[in-house]
């Protein structure tokens, strides 16, 4: 005797009360609605992105040229270029990544794999979460106070290192949280299997957990670096120059950055500067895409369904 029918007639007896919807027609209809919903949701993001990019590209791409990429900023919009800003951003990106990724992954590993379940650990967890919401300009003030002023002799004051360290602190919570979630998703059986075979915790991490958590960690890194590359306010506070006559020669050098150049162009009255700003944004997005594609390639390589 069937418990819950789907329209199949039952011998004798009344239809039974069921916890589940019994009509397949309703279920399939809901399914269709849901499928449309998820598709539309994804499309919303893509459509907005496309509109934005097309709008910028329309203005910016014609302005792109070798001179624009290798030129210095100028009072004349036609002569302005983004060379020092581009190099500055690249320097910042590399140093920020080198600092924040190991720190972030390391912190996540500690919090998820090593830390005992005490109030102290919980405090650190809440702390990390909280730091993700601190506005970027406060990080700028922090960077100014500590890296530029206090540690000035080591960092060179208003230098690339100060800027990169400030950005690294800014994006650290994102890397930590994303990596942590990736580690959390790994079933304990993997860990226990490793321990059963006599491996130490670190050997289990290095051999199994890290590769499995890598995709999630990379997602966090992508999102984090994307944010870092586009930040303006903290860099201004920490001393990135708007106009500079030279390119950075090392991590202790003065510098400019793409978002600052863009912000400067955008606030000038001449229309031609608005076009230059659009071109600058295109350059920024290309750098972003290149950085992301490295991480994405790595992520695809390491990701497999459990």
């Amino acid at each position: 005797m069937t418990r819950s029918g789907t329209g199949i007639a039952q011998k004798g007896g009344p239809e039974q009360e069921s916890v589940f919807k019994t009509s397949t027609a309703v279920r399939y209809a809901l399914d269709l609605v849901f499928t449309i919903l998820v598709f539309v949701a994804t499309m919303i993001g893509l459509v907005v992105l496309a509109v934005l990019l097309i709008d910028i590209a329309r203005d910016g791409v014609p302005r792109l040229s070798w001179e624009f990429l290798t030129g210095f900023p100028s009072i004349s919009p036609e002569r302005s270029g983004v060379y020092p800003a581009l190099l500055g951003s690249l320097w910042l990106l590399v140093i920020t990544a080198i600092v924040s990724v190991p720190l972030g992954v390391g912190a996540a590993l500690y919090l998820q794999e090593y830390a005992p379940d005490t109030w102290l650990t919980r405090l650190i967890e809440v702390n990390v979460s909280n730091l993700a919401g601190v506005p970027s300009i406060i990080y700028g003030l922090l960077g100014l106070g500590i890296f530029v002023n206090l540690l000035g002799p080591i960092t060179g004051g208003q230098s690339i290192v100060s800027g990169a360290l400030t950005l690294a602190l800014l994006i650290l919570p994102v890397v930590i949280i994303a990596t942590r979630e990736a580690l959390r998703a790994i079933p304990d059986s993997v860990r226990e299997g490793g321990f059963a075979l006599g491996a130490t915790r670190w050997e289990v991490i290095r051999g199994h957990l890290l590769p499995m958590a890598l995709p999630g960690a990379l997602t966090g890194t992508i999102l984090a670096l994307s944010r870092a590359i586009g930040e303006t306010a903290p860099l201004i506070v920490v001393g990135a120059a708007t106009y500079i006559t030279f390119v950075p020669e090392g991590p202790l050098s003065a510098y400019s950055a793409l978002p600052i150049a863009i912000y400067d162009f955008v606030s000038r009255p001449q229309e031609a500067f608005q076009i230059a700003a659009a071109a600058g944004i295109v350059v920024l997005m290309v750098v972003l895409l290149l950085t992301n594609s490295v991480a994405i390639w790595l992520r695809n390589k390491y990701q497999r369904r459990g």
Partner: protein, 324 residues
């Protein structure tokens, strides 16, 4: 993991290679480097000067930042910068701090900005506005009260007026409130504010009942979208501002560290070059050059190394400072 490391190292090498191509010899940190910070309004003028100077003296490294006049003075009094861009004169507290730090400065007026009062081009009834009318419109007691055009001038229609203006943190605001309302920072607060003048242009040009005020350069670049009002009968223009007729023109300054001027020959060269070709830079930056008398006075102050602020600047406006 080592692949990641390798990739980062590759990127780092590329970045390093990129800057090896162009760039000057590093002569030792801060040796021939001139650091300028301060107002983002004055930044374009200093930038134009630095650009032209750099063409002839490519070994001098100049950085210019626009974090704000206040931040600029802070860095200046910390001896972090040699020149400070300022869209307002130095305030007492800042001057005191410089004095305590042993920093002596030379105040040089370098340009003027004409504050332009604009309305939408479809506004056909307003041609001129007096300073009194501006005050009626913008003073603190107007908040929530003065909301129609005819409350400002009886000849104007009984229509809603929407106001646009710079935010309370900009030098334009400081100057306007002091000149029109009598006291700095005194203004009604119920208006559309933005620190970015381009945004104000956007606002006024899209709103037929709008009235706003901002720097002359932004009006000049958008003349098809905006209509400028005469103030007290004088139209805003380079000529009327330079001659002093236009009542709403504000001075822009640079402050130079007097001691560094003596110790750093390239700094002296730069400021000299700056002042000699001032008109060219000011025009490139879309501001109004000083009158010949004011320019001469600035030159004299520099040549005589006169430190401290002037009690009354060449434009005839009294302002706060050490020499009050």
């Amino acid at each position: 993991m080592s692949l990641l490391l390798r990739t980062f190292l590759l990127a780092l090498t590329l970045a390093l290679a990129g800057c090896g191509g162009r760039g000057q010899e590093q002569e030792g940190d801060g040796q021939s480097q001139i650091a300028v910070e301060g107002s983002s309004t004055v930044l374009p003028i200093t930038q134009a000067a630095a650009e032209a100077f750099n063409r002839q003296n490519s070994d001098v490294r100049i950085t210019v930042s626009g974090a704000g006049t206040g931040d600029g003075f802070e860095a200046f009094c910390n001896v972090d910068t040699q020149i400070s861009d300022a869209s307002r004169p130095i305030k007492d507290e800042e001057a005191d701090r410089c004095e305590q730090a042993g920093v002596e400065y030379i105040e040089l007026a370098i340009a003027q900005d004409a504050l332009t009062v604009v309305v939408n081009p479809r506004n056909d009834f307003a041609q001129n506005i007096t300073l009194d009318e501006l005050r009626t419109l913008w003073e603190p007691s107007a908040e929530g009260q003065v909301t129609t055009w005819n409350q400002v001038n009886l000849e104007w229609p009984d229509q809603q007026i929407s106001l646009y203006g710079p935010g309370s943190q900009s030098g334009t605001f400081d100057f306007f409130t002091e000149r029109v309302n009598g006291k700095e920072d005194e203004s009604r607060t119920d208006y559309q504010a933005s620190e970015d003048d381009n945004v104000l242009v956007q606002g006024v040009s899209g709103d037929t009942s709008a009235l706003g005020y901002f720097g002359f350069g932004y009006f000049e670049q958008n003349q098809q979208r905006l209509k400028a009002l005469n103030v007290d009968g004088i139209a805003p223009s380079v000529e009327t501002t330079q001659s002093g007729e236009y009542p709403l023109s504000r001075p822009l300054f640079i402050y130079v560290n007097a001691q560094d001027l003596e110790e750093q020959p390239e700094l002296e060269e730069f400021v000299q070059f700056y002042l000699e070709n001032l008109d060219q830079f000011v025009e490139q930056a879309q501001y109004v050059p000083l009158s010949p008398e004011a320019a001469q006075e600035a030159g004299e102050r520099f040549n005589n190394r006169t430190t401290g602020t002037a009690p009354e600047d060449a434009l005839g406006a009294e302002h706060k400072g050490n020499g009050k």
